[in-house]
Each structure stands twice: as structure tokens, then as C-alpha cells.
Homo-oligomer: 317 residues x 2
């Protein structure tokens, strides 16, 4: 199936060179891929013509630091805005940017809008150790309601089916214990709601179960999800730096775990009306090609339709 | 300085044998220590007379499982209740139990009461990797207000001075980023409050700073603190089980990190009117002796007076 992916040339520390090389790799790897490279005219002028490559002129990239939301509002033609807008306009099937992650989420929300029943995008990741469950929200929705967890279940379930091929993914709530009295007030409400409405809900799991396969999808709010990932990353970094670890079998694993967004673990914003794949600012050409591959797979496997069906099935949309 | 510590004989998986052996070790290690061993008469009858050893009859230990709060309420003479009550009655300077941790916190709260200005006990630990900051709350206060963080700062600061000898410990809030917009609603309020009231407040830190020494004391609510510790424990267990790790220099460190309460890291309930030291149910004799040593040090170094002074100084009590 032919897929068109829009790629932001101006995102990331090595932009545009790494993105341009990554685009070439992605095209070579997938004969049914078409890429739309989005960037200012002077950058586009450096890129040779290729079959299956379309150049789309835009304004500037989102600068590091500053206030990305204001920047995106003031620069409707910013490369990130244009990249996502191509999906909204039906010109592309998915978008990839290794620019500022928070900015990309804002652009996705503004340019694409949300699926029916979903208030805000939820970033989800495949947890990169042990049984590798889908974990969401990993950083965006800091204040959540019990109903948000029902939406997270639908989003995470669809994502898990797509990236892991699990047909009826089990869903759990991350908590500080598995006894009924555990959890915050919101989690207790969410537990009740999911127990009533979600057939594959398995209850609370503790962080140990992030590693042991107790659930395919583990739900948490964006504050706790972010803390969990950063605790793992920080611990991996400290362990990797200890004497005697460099030459062990652990070193490559710890290097991957020390930076989830650079690790190759699939990360997606879920809930927007289109496939948007973020990436790490330090992404090199191989990373960019991999992210394009993830976006392509999500499109080919019908992630959006799966989420919409899930939301409808459980009476959310 | 002579110190009297009450020791619950009926706590832990190896009770009473491990506790009795631990008591003997603790007495041998500290010539100015007096121990009060608390247990039912038949257990006390097995213990030989020793100088600096006093036997205190009590009811049963708190059973595993069931509802410890109801048990403690129904059995005022339960060994855990009696152990803590000896502190309240002025018979002992501190209490140690390796029984059910939640039950011990309840007993401490009921039998000792709280220091002025403190609503609930806050368990604190020395984070067992990297720069080893004091982390609290690690599991009790799941719903907190901004004012609770001011209390946590006083409690954690005093604990840090005692166990780590830092004279003016820096205090930080654990958050999902260091920018002002980060944090939950409560954390944002707490940030404002601490910035106004706490001279050594350094702002938000991310989980990476648990390892890097950005702050001596790191504050979080009991839900997030518990999740952070259990994420670390879970990751340590998974890493320790990977092929090729067993014989490396990492193995002993991972074993310690895989169980914080069994790791030897000091843990105290802070805010009660007396020194109460919990321990792991799997504690052996050496662990029990170490916990008695921690209680003794906290008494000798005037932990309670330090906390009271801190609470007064910052206008909490």
C-alpha cells in the first residue's frame, strides 16, 4: 500500500542534513513510500530531484528555547505547522518531526484536531525493558479525570494492537499497590469505571509489572508517566557510568534505556486526527528513517480507524 | 549517652528468632544501649537474662494479611502497639519493628501522636544510588496539599542533618521538568510557598537529579515517591536477572537496589512524637541490629528536637 509521509526538515539538532539523509534511507527501504519534505526554500534548493520525493516550501523551524506555542501561533507557515497541516489537508497520510516534542504536540492538536471523545493528545511509548508494555500518558496530561483513563485505554489498546499485534490487549492502571484501598482518589474512580466498562481491564499493577508482562497496556497520568520514564533513564545513566560496566553485556541496554526517545522504542501522540510521530532532537539519519517507518506502519495498519472503532465500541465517542 | 530502644519481637518473617539474635548483636555493638524486648510471655520465657535487656510482656504480633488497622484497634496489647507505647510512656527513647510497615505507621500515629503542625507521618528514605538524597514521602500521604510540602521540607531537612550531617540541606520538589509551567496544580502552589518560605529551596528537579546531587532533600507525595522507588526496584530486579550480569560488579548493587527496605538505606517515619524505625519483613539478625543502630543514632543526635525546631523556625508549628 502506497503511503505518503510529511517530514519536517527543520527539526532536530542535525537539521536539515540528518533529516535529508534519513529521507533517502527511508525511500530506499520502502518502494511504496512517498515523502513530502517540508522546509524553507533555501533548504529545499539544496535537495536534488528524486522520484517519490516532493518538496514543500514552508517558513522557519521552531527555534530551541523560547515559547514554542507562541512561535507556532505567530508562524502559521513554520515547517512544523506545515508538516502537520499536510496531513489535515489530505496531502499526506502521516507526519514526522524530530523537532521540539512539546511544540509538535501543540501543532498536532491545532492543525489536526482531536478524534471525537478525546480532549487532548496522549503520548504513548513502548516501555523499553522486560515485557515492553505500552505505557501512556508519558508526559502531556498532567491533571486527569477518571474518564481520561477510559480514553487512554482506547488509545493505548489500539496502539498496542498495531505495534505489538496483540488482538485483545489487557489494560491496567499503574498504582502504588494492588489492594483496593490503594491509588489516588482519581485512580480509585478510574478503577471503578474501567472495571465496569473495559472487558480486558486487569486492575492495578505496581511499577514492577512494567517489566513482567502483567498487562499489555499500562495507564497513568502524564505526570507520573513522565516521572517513571525519567527515573528509568536516570538510573540507566548512573549505572552505565559505574566502573566496570562499560564492557559488560549491560552497556548497550543501559545506553538505550538512558534515553527513551532516542532508544528506538515506538512513541506516538494518540488521539489526534492523524498519525504524528515525534522523535529525539539528536536523531541521526537512521533514526529519522526508523521514525518514518513507524509512521508508515501506523498508517498501513489503520491506527486511526482502530482508535475510532475502539472509542465507539466503548461508548466514548 | 545511654539510649533505650523498644524492639518488637513478633515482627517479620523470621520472628522471634531473628529479632532475638539481632538484639544480642545490637547490645554487643553498643555498650550504652539498653533494649526492651516486647512479646508474649511464652516467647519471653525462651530468652535468657542479660544485663541491659528488659523483657516486656505483650499480646500477639500483627498477623500477615488481614486488616492491620482493625487488628491494632482490637488488640491494644499487640506487641507492635506495646513497643511503640513504651516510647509514649517514656520507658523507651525509640522503637523498632520489622513487622507490617503500614501497621507500624498506624501504631506510631495512634500511640505517639504527631508533632505540632504535622497531620500524618511521612516515611522518608535515603535514596540508595548516586548522590543518595533524602526522599520523602515514599508511600504514605497519597493526597497532599501545598502546605504538606512545607512540612515535608522541615521533616526531611532535619532527617538529612541527622543521617547525613549536612548543616543546611538544600530542598527540591520532584517534577516532570524544571520550567515554571511544569508540575501539577498542587506542586505549582508548593513551589510558590517554598520559594517564599524556605531559604534553601532550589526549585523543581527531575528524577535524574535523584542520582546527581542537585538537592540534599527531594520532596514528593507518597504516591509518586512510592512509584519512583518501585520503578527503581523493578528495574534493578530485571537487570539483575539478565544473562551475564550475575558475575559483574553491578550484581551486588542491583541486589541492594531491588529492595529498598531491605537494602540498609535508612528509613524513618517522620513527624510522630518519637523515633520509630520500620524494617523489612525479611530482616535477619544483622538487619535488626542495624535498625536498632539507626534508632539509637536518631535519638542520640536529637532528631525529634531538630524537627520541632525546624517546624517552629519556619512557622509551621
Amino acid at each position: 500500500m502506497s503511503v505518503r509521509i510529511a517530514l519536517d526538515l527543520m527539526g532536530g539538532d542535525q537539521a536539515p542534513a540528518a533529516v535529508i539523509s534519513g529521507a533517502a534511507r527511508a525511500l530506499a527501504a520502502d518502494p511504496e513510500l512517498e515523502l513530502l519534505l517540508v522546509g524553507p526554500q533555501p533548504v529545499l534548493a539544496t535537495i536534488g530531484e528524486e522520484p517519490r520525493l516532493r518538496l514543500v516550501p514552508s517558513g522557519p523551524g521552531v527555534p530551541e528555547g523560547g515559547r514554542p506555542a507562541s512561535f507556532l501561533r505567530q508562524h502559521g507557515d513554520a515547517s512544523m505547522n506545515r508538516t502537520v497541516a499536510l496531513v489535515a489537508e489530505g496531502e499526506a497520510d502521516g507526519a514526522v518531526s524530530v523537532g521540539h516534542t512539546g511544540a509538535l504536540m501543540i501543532a498536532a492538536r491545532w492543525r489536526l484536531g482531536m478524534l471525537p471523545g478525546v480532549l487532548r493528545p496522549a503520548p504513548a511509548a513502548v516501555f523499553p525493558l522486560g515485557s515492553q508494555p505500552v505505557l501512556l500518558d508519558i508526559g502531556a496530561n498532567v491533571e486527569v479525570s477518571a474518564e481520561d483513563f477510559l480514553v487512554f485505554a482506547a488509545l493505548g489498546g489500539a496502539f498496542c494492537r498495531i505495534v505489538k499485534g496483540v488482538s485483545q490487549p489487557s489494560v491496567a492502571l499503574l498504582a502504588n499497590g494492588t489492594e483496593p484501598g490503594k491509588g489516588t482518589r482519581v485512580l480509585k474512580e478510574a478503577h471503578q469505571l474501567l472495571a465496569q466498562r473495559w472487558p480486558s481491564f486487569v486492575g492495578y499493577v505496581e511499577p514492577l509489572e512494567l517489566f513482567t508482562g502483567a498487562a499489555d497496556v499500562i495507564l497513568t497520568d502524564g505526570f507520573v508517566g513522565n516521572i517513571v520514564l525519567k527515573t528509568m533513564e536516570g538510573m540507566a545513566r548512573v549505572l552505565a557510568g559505574l566502573p566496570g560496566v562499560v564492557d559488560t553485556t549491560l552497556a548497550p541496554l543501559l545506553a538505550r534505556m538512558s534515553d527513551i526517545t532516542a532508544s528506538g522504542s515506538p512513541i506516538l501522540f494518540l488521539g489526534t486526527r492523524g498519525v504524528v510521530v515525534p522523535g529525539h532532537g539528536r536523531a541521526g539519519a537512521a533514526d529519522v528513517a526508523r521514525l518514518v517507518g513507524l509512521a508508515t506502519a501506523a498508517v498501513r495498519q489503520g491506527l486511526l480507524a482502530a482508535i475510532e472503532a475502539e472509542l465507539k465500541q466503548y461508548g466514548i465517542a
